[in-house]
Amino acid sequence: MRIAILSLAHFHGYSYAAAVAKHPAAELALIWDEDAARGGAAAQQFGCAFEPDLDRTLAAHIDAVIITSANVHHKEIAVKAARAGKHILCEKPIATTLADAQAMVAAARAAGVQFMTAFPCRYAPPVLRVKQALEQGAIGEILAIKGTNHGRMPGGWFADPGMAGGGAVMDHTVHVADLIRWFLGKEFTSVYAEVANRFHDIRVDDCGMLTMELEGGAFATLDPSWSRPAAYPTWGDVTMEIVGTKGTISLDAFSQNLSLYNNDDRVAAWVPYGSDMDEGLVNDFIAAAAANARPPITGEDGLRAMEVALMAYESARTGAPVIRGA
């Protein structure tokens, strides 16, 4: 299985590349990047070839691609890759508009290639344990979920509306929205949101608060804010409080940390020791691509999660809850 990384605009590309390099049955064959300096340096780091031209990359002898470009470029790259017959792992959010996401899913289907959306949180061991507990019926039926995906303001193209398609709400809604769908096995029916810019002098939203309803009547809230100050001991969090008919589950997915106090650092730091999750994600992608089988996370999953962010923006614009399909 020969794999190409398409752009390192998103820093997750490095970690996916490392996971590919580690895989016994896969080879990191090529890196393409619109930024030749960045791509060249990465190719050197991973000991593979750099190719500055996208079409030539896709014409090369590769079986699959991992797309970690800026959000708005996902569609063009993914449609080209699908037409070239490559299996695709695409960074979240899958796209920035419903039409783009639909075009990507359709292109993959038409070309008969597998499309997987990168939701690595599904592979974090604490998250897997929650999924297992829910499947075992530990807390009965899910009634309500309180979620957070806090972060620091990532800067760069993330804060450029033309490249990212939005701010914190676009960047940080999809992980937890995906986990909620995965845990419940149900679709969102409505979204209400407050969206604001309160933390940084940037042109996109940096905070918000979403309230969602799901089929069957469960409700959820999600705080996707880039609200962690530089002085905070870690990058952010993914947390969920899940209330069920028979009990509750508290998830703090990235809390397996040591506290470090070092005189040379200006601030205290939490040093993670939790298990890597990107490897599980990449391994499943490689397995699905090798077998030409439906991956555990599909393009449809990516689309549904992104739709929640789009509904949140619409709700903030109209001041009313947005009903799906209405």
């Binding site: 407050e194 604001a196 933390f199 905070c207 608060m209 809230t221 100050p229 209330v243 009313a320």
Partner: protein
């Protein structure tokens, strides 16, 4: 300061001790259940009043403290005010804004002082956090999160489980957070909420409420009667910094008893002792307001505004629509 207390349930018991600690003399206690009144009276050397009227007709009593289930607040406050007594009433002030307004009006007309026990303003962690915010330590506040709750409460006649009386946790409990938030971050403009109380008849309640402030800041308030134990906390994130507090993580003392019998694990009981309970600080303050004209830290009007936020959240949960609060004060 001589006090007559009505109610000898959970809060009546707490207030009895706090008046005593604050140096107020508890003259008499009245409760529907005379044995409960007697037990509390015995702790502080008070009399048991046979009727509410007996409390009101005692000319030596300055203050009537009402620790009754919420729907009874209005009738008891009105009678106490008409009898010329200063009044202290547990939160929530009342189950409706009409009741709340009427209670404030009658106390004003009767020329008596009226206080509502929004005790969170006297919890040092909440007061300290507010001071840090006012001192600009987080910069411009952006997103505030609060949480409160635990086990489903039990009271006299199981009145908490009867939402027509308790008004759900959104009126009964997270009103504490609504008051602290309004005190710290200013007026609330808009409310959106979801609540289990609108969908299940089980002994479970859980509410997630979003507030949008006139300042533009956003708050998320979690209230639960679906967990165990009791836990509360908050996080204030701003443009320059962040404050967080989680009662479950602050355990300066943990007493753990080894189980005597095999197979039974010992229970660890965490404590976070202060020199004075916030309830006592609160009651001492109200006493000084009445006796020495100290400026009240929380007014009956504040209590009215907190009820307004709770009721807006319940309306939003019922209708599925955001509720915009009235701008005008009274």
């Amino acid at each position: 300061m001589r006090v007559g207390i009505v109610g000898a349930g959970t809060m009546g018991t707490v207030h009895t001790g706090s008046h005593h600690e604050a140096g107020h003399q508890v003259a008499a206690i009245y409760d529907l259940r005379p044995e409960a009144a007697a037990a509390n009276a015995a702790r502080v050397g008070a009399a048991v009043a046979p009727t509410f009227e007996a409390l009101l007709s005692d000319p030596t009593i300055d203050l009537i403290d009402i620790c009754l289930p919420t729907p009874l607040h209005r009738a008891f406050v009105e009678k106490a005010a008409r009898a010329g007594k200063h009044v202290l009433c547990e939160k929530p002030l009342a189950p409706t804004l009409e009741d709340a307004r009427a209670m404030i009006d009658i106390c004003r007309e009767a020329g008596v002082q009226f206080y509502v026990a929004h005790v969170l303003r006297f919890f040092p962690e909440y007061e300290r956090a507010r001071n840090l915010v006012l001192a600009g330590k987080v910069g411009e506040p952006g997103v505030i999160r609060t949480t409160r709750g635990g086990i489903f409460p039990t009271g006299w006649d199981d009145w908490y489980a009867d939402y027509s009386r308790s008004g759900t946790l959104t009126l009964d409990m997270i009103i504490h957070d609504f008051d602290w938030l309004r005190w710290t971050f200013g007026e609330v403009e808009r409310v959106y909420a979801k609540s289990l109380s609108t969908r299940t008849t089980e002994r479970l309640d859980y509410a997630l409420v979003t507030l949008r402030f006139a300042s533009g800041a956003i708050a998320h308030v979690e209230g639960t009667w679906s967990h165990s134990g009791f836990r509360y906390g908050f996080e204030v994130a701003g443009s320059k910094g962040l404050i967080d507090f989680d009662s479950a993580k602050i355990q300066p003392v943990v007493v753990q008893k080894r189980a005597a019998e095999a197979g039974v694990t010992g229970v660890a009981v965490p404590e976070s002792p202060l020199r004075e309970s916030p309830y006592t600080t609160e009651i001492r303050h109200f006493g000084r307001c009445i006796e020495h004209g100290e400026i009240p830290i929380v007014t009956a009007y504040d209590a009215y505004k907190a009820v307004e936020i709770s009721l807006a959240a319940l309306e939003s949960a019922r209708t599925g629509r955001p509720v915009t609060l009235a701008k005008e004060a009274f």
